[in-house]
């Protein structure tokens, strides 16, 4: 196991999270099965007290867990400095067979945890707490990927062998690679850009028509297309290298940590759209989420588009 201070921090936090999550899980099952707000029985009053306690436990786990994703990426980047061959977090992700699965699981979980937090905050705004059963049901579902994530994380850090040579991102994210990721390079750039800007156009359209479901669905596709276009096209302009497609290197100091801004914009923009689509909100809150989502999606598009535009203005050619 690689025991850097950052890894130890993550491991200690994982142990604390696991302990509290198990307590919250047991209580959540009880609340989910027995919750009946109309009842004035002793057991219901007890459940109401327990639901407040349990929701507070879950809230604090997730409030730390969501931003901890950035710290996880930062840690991978830090580990890359001691792994032979690794240039950035991509090499660390590929250093063990667990890295890619962990990353995918973390991305899914981060949306799920953030969704839970919003659901909880909306639930607390209503006197009759209409989402109580839903939010504890969601936690029961989220508990399993949450625990699996913690386990894989520990296993991954344990499996990293500093004496072993790993691949660099230039190899992993290239069209000549034999990995599954190389499939995305078979998409033609004009088609990919049409899909990217076309999808954004649909988001704008659904925003003005205020069609919440289509708006949310368009945003789900936007996450996927954005990540692919970032790797295949936009990333190369950030690096100003036509062969460099890594989605991690621009998180480093050399690129002014712009990757964090890019991913935060994309996450907030698309996540708020999911809230609009799938949570029944007060009209005022819905409007606020629409606006935040649109703003961050717009900022994302402007930011990633600025790199090729500036490159073209400076050099008069495309990569």
């Amino acid at each position: 196991m690689i025991l850097m201070p950052e890894v130890l921090t993550i491991l200690i936090l994982n142990a604390i999270f696991a302990l509290f999550a198990i307590i919250a899980f047991v209580l959540s099952i009880k609340i989910f099965l027995k919750w009946d707000l109309s009842s004035t029985s002793k057991s219901q009053y007890k459940l109401e007290k327990q639901s407040f306690l349990t929701a507070t436990i879950i809230k604090y786990i997730f409030v730390i867990k969501v931003p901890l994703f950035l710290f996880f990426i930062f840690t991978l980047d830090k580990i890359s400095t001691v792994l032979t061959g690794a240039m950035c977090a991509a090499g660390v992700v590929d250093a063990t067979q667990y890295g890619t699965y962990l990353l995918i699981l973390k991305i899914i979980n981060i949306y799920m945890f953030a969704f839970w937090l919003v659901l909880h905050s909306v639930d607390m705004k209503y006197e009759n707490q209409p989402f109580t059963k839903t939010k504890f049901g969601l936690f029961i579902l989220a508990f399993f990927p949450f625990i699996i994530e913690l386990i894989i994380e520990v296993v991954m850090f344990s499996a990293i062998d500093v004496s072993k040579m790993v691949s660099c991102c230039g190899t992993l994210y290239s069209s000549s690679s034999t990995s599954y990721i190389s499939n995305i390079f078979s998409i033609e750039t004009p088609l990919l850009l049409s899909m990217f800007y076309g999808n954004f156009f649909l988001i704008v359209l659904f925003y003005f028509f205020k069609n919440r479901y289509l708006y949310a669905v368009a945003n789900i596709f936007f996450v996927i297309i954005s990540l692919i276009s970032l790797i295949v096209f936009f990333g190369t302009y950030i690096y100003e290298l036509p062969t460099h497609h890594c989605p991690f290197c621009f998180l480093q100091k050399d690129y002014f940590y712009v990757g964090y801004i890019i991913y935060i914009f994309l996450f907030i923009g698309t996540f708020r759209a999911l809230i609009v689509g799938f949570v029944e909100l007060y009209p005022k809150d819905k409007d606020k989420n629409y606006k935040i989502s649109m703003l961050f999606n717009f900022l994302y598009v402007i930011l990633v588009s600025a790199y090729p535009a500036i490159y073209y203005i400076k050099n008069g050619v495309w990569l």
Partner: protein, 222 residues
């Protein structure tokens, strides 16, 4: 207005030590009514008040105020309910001793963020009504017991609440001041407030303006 239905409240100190403060009680108080809850210490009077004020929740049963089930309110909504509906008068006044009379009275208005003119209007009205205007800037800890009680009453009324709750309001007052408090209560009753007083002070018994006296004993209404 206020309706307690099959309310039980017990406090579990530990597994072998459980105190039943209220035992399946039913109580109905109409709007504008002045009710005196009388009984010995530990009989459950204060527990009834804390349930009506949503300061605590029953172990079982319903507490309804204006057809609203306040015993089921989440904490943040219970605070709003208290802010908008309840005026408290406590035995020990519960004033902030380092603040002035004016500042203490204005405390319930702080969360409402009212405009200055409105604040001044309410403050002047309430200080005049309870005869405490001349002490406006005095620090509360320097006031006499009777004056502190008047500040507490002014604070309880500054929001113009529908319900006034008084828990042993004369316990720290001498006889003269207690009589004065009774007069204030008469005036509050005349302004159509619903008032619930928990006391074992005989000064409140057999008053002509009290609508009902209810005896509470060992967690039961007799």
């Amino acid at each position: 207005m206020i309706n307690l239905k099959n309310v039980t409240k017990s406090y579990e100190i530990n597994k072998n030590n459980k105190v039943t403060a209220l035992d399946n009680i039913n109580l109905n108080i109409k709007e504008g009514e002045l009710v005196v809850l009388k009984g010995a210490s530990g009989s459950g009077k204060s527990t009834i008040l804390s349930l009506i004020a949503a300061l605590s929740k029953p172990t079982s049963g319903e507490v309804m105020v204006d057809e609203k089930q306040i015993s089921k309110l989440p904490d943040n909504f219970a605070s709003i309910y208290r802010r908008d509906n309840i005026g408290f008068i406590f035995q020990k006044y519960n004033l902030i001793p380092t603040l002035s009379v004016k500042e203490n009275i204005l405390l319930p208005l702080v969360p409402l963020n009212p405009d200055e003119e409105d604040v001044k209007e309410k403050l002047d009205a309430v200080m005049q009504r309870f005869n405490i205007s001349h002490k406006e800037d005095a620090i509360v800890r320097n006031l006499s017991g009777g004056e502190q009680q008047r500040v507490a009453i002014a604070r309880a009324n500054v929001n113009n609440p529908k319900i006034i709750i008084a828990d042993e309001p004369t316990a720290n007052l001498d006889e003269k001041l207690s009589i004065h408090f009774v007069e204030i209560l008469r005036e509050l009753k005349a302004s159509n407030k619903t008032i619930v007083v928990a006391t074992h002070d005989p000064i409140f018994f057999d008053l002509d303006f009290v609508d009902r006296e209810i005896k509470v004993h060992n967690g039961k209404i007799l």
